[in-house]
């Protein structure tokens, strides 16, 4: 590959001038700029990024950490991040943590070695010590999206999980449901706690506290299916189930089908996330939709601002939408 020297020779100037023509064209005369441009085309020059990064002590790479890449919930968020990152000349490295602390640690270690300029966390399920260490320097290039830590204050882009859950439960109650159960994500997860708070408070406001019932899943199909079976086979069967993910809701749908319980006639089910699949399951799923693309975009913008030393709104709350489809209906009782 030709280097900046070759360009300088072809343009009849110094390497410093070539570098400037590239990095800060305004510091160079129009004529020079053009000669350099022609020389670059002539020799087929492309800058060596490793050299540039070494010199500038940056990597132009952003890492995003997520708990499970196979969850389609994340893909649209990643697309949003990528869009903004590429526009700004950054690359996105997608890191799948898979609940493995070692993996998370490996990705965090990219920060001090200048292999990554910043991290966007899409999971709170990583060692807090890791985050604390990274956060200790002021203006640490860390942003949280969708999730948050109960005990570490990070710039965050998310929805109002409390409100979103409250809204879903209100809707179910307005349909006449009085026994509304919930399949939560991991109960240690702060956003699940928020949703469960919204769930409980809304039931209480409706005088339905007595029937509150929360079981724990892991966001995946299987856990929804299993908890759905447990809930529906037991005595005092709920007439509606609010799930913290679409996958779990679809698992519940399968459980109901297997038990011969009609949805929505005998059971209403609400999911969370509005993944593509939710329109194609049977029946089509009523669900809480988050603006995933926008969350990704905003999180990346926030991180880029941090990197630029700009001050940022530390908490951005985007709005959700309850999408009513076919899995919910009036209570039969």
């Amino acid at each position: 590959m030709p280097t900046i020297k070759d360009v300088a020779k072809a343009a009849g100037c110094s390497t410093a001038t070539v570098s400037r023509a590239l990095a800060s064209p305004e510091k160079v005369t129009e004529a020079t700029r053009q000669r350099v441009a022609r020389a670059i085309a002539e020799v087929g020059y492309a800058p060596n990024v490793a050299a540039r990064n070494l010199r500038r002590a940056e990597s132009r790479t952003i890492v995003t950490l997520l708990p499970d890449i196979s969850n389609p919930f994340f893909s649209e968020i990643i697309n949003g991040m990528e869009e903004v990152a590429h526009q700004a000349g950054y690359q996105l490295l997608v890191g799948d943590c898979e609940r493995d602390p070692a993996r998370a640690e490996a990705y965090f270690s990219l920060l001090p070695t200048n292999q990554a300029d910043g991290i966007i966390l899409l999971t709170s399920d990583i060692p807090h010590a890791l985050v604390r260490r990274a956060v200790s320097r002021a203006n640490a290039p860390l942003v949280m999206a969708c999730e948050f830590f109960a005990d570490i204050d990070l710039p965050t882009v998310a929805i109002d999980n409390y409100q979103a859950a409250a809204h879903a439960i209100d809707y179910l109650a307005s349909l006449g449901h009085e026994r509304i159960a919930s399949v939560s994500g991991p109960v240690g997860n702060p956003i699940c706690r928020e949703r469960t708070r919204g769930y409980r408070d809304t039931l209480a406001a409706r005088g339905l506290s007595g029937s509150a019932r929360v079981v724990e899943g892991d966001f995946g199909f299987r856990s929804g299916y299993q908890q759905g079976l447990a809930l529906l086979e037991g005595t005092d069967r709920p007439s509606a189930i609010f799930c913290h993910s679409d996958e779990m809701a679809i698992g519940v749908l399968k459980a109901a089908r297997q038990l011969g319980i009609g949805v929505p006639e005998a059971l209403s089910v609400v999911g969370f996330d509005n993944i593509g699949f939710s329109e194609y399951c049977e029946p089509e799923l009523t669900t809480v939709s988050q603006p995933r693309h926008e969350i990704g975009q905003q999180a990346m913008r926030m991180l880029l601002s941090l990197l630029a030393g700009e001050s940022v709104v530390r908490r951005q709350t985007l709005s959700t939408q309850l999408i009513v489809r076919k899995s919910t209906g009036r209570s039969a009782t």
Copy 2:
């Protein structure tokens, strides 16, 4: 961050020795190795990767290009790649091309600038010129997984698409089906052509050529749904439909449901890929399963061998499995 100089000072040796203790410990005495190790721990040293990359003219980064990150089919493949890559000290950069030639070009340009050491293609839907240019040097660090080009010979890890389709059609025919339609992926796609060949040849072998019917989808839910409607509303309705993806099969399921056509009583449906969802749709989907994790692993191993200058088996064919679930049954006619 401390540099190699700080370590050298702390260990009482030269930077060259520190470097060697790290890169080729066998070139250094045991005592030196230990002093260096202690010094590294003492000063908290971590190598600057940009500097190392610049010096070594490599990036230790592999790019994988895929057509659509939101397709869950790819996640398990990516996991397989990541696993092998990390073990070998490489990073995986996941590039979503979204049918945009400019994106593909941007990722390919990482190669000559040493920002990436190799590329694994999970899509054939990119400008061939790009691939040709990259392939022109001998032992180009390019590997194809799942897909292939009709006109460019690249080291490949894939299944036998012809056989897999033939197997599925054989199974359907053995169930008594005589009108078997197919919802193909993009017809320009070589793997779809292979599957369609397998489909046609098998029908012919059974004397069923007359009823062959192939419509085109794009692998997504919606196209399966639309083509399903078209196929099922028309005259001479098929009694079985073979789809080139699970998402399309699930779309067909929805179309059948909407038209009141029972599956599998009145219609059998076979998908392709065995995505997680295929177990949770109604009815559970019979599908062709590919060893996705293994495909990812093998593709990465192949690329790493190429990078090491080793010779590789240029065509690795992994086996598929027909997973029979509830969406297929004996023909009613």
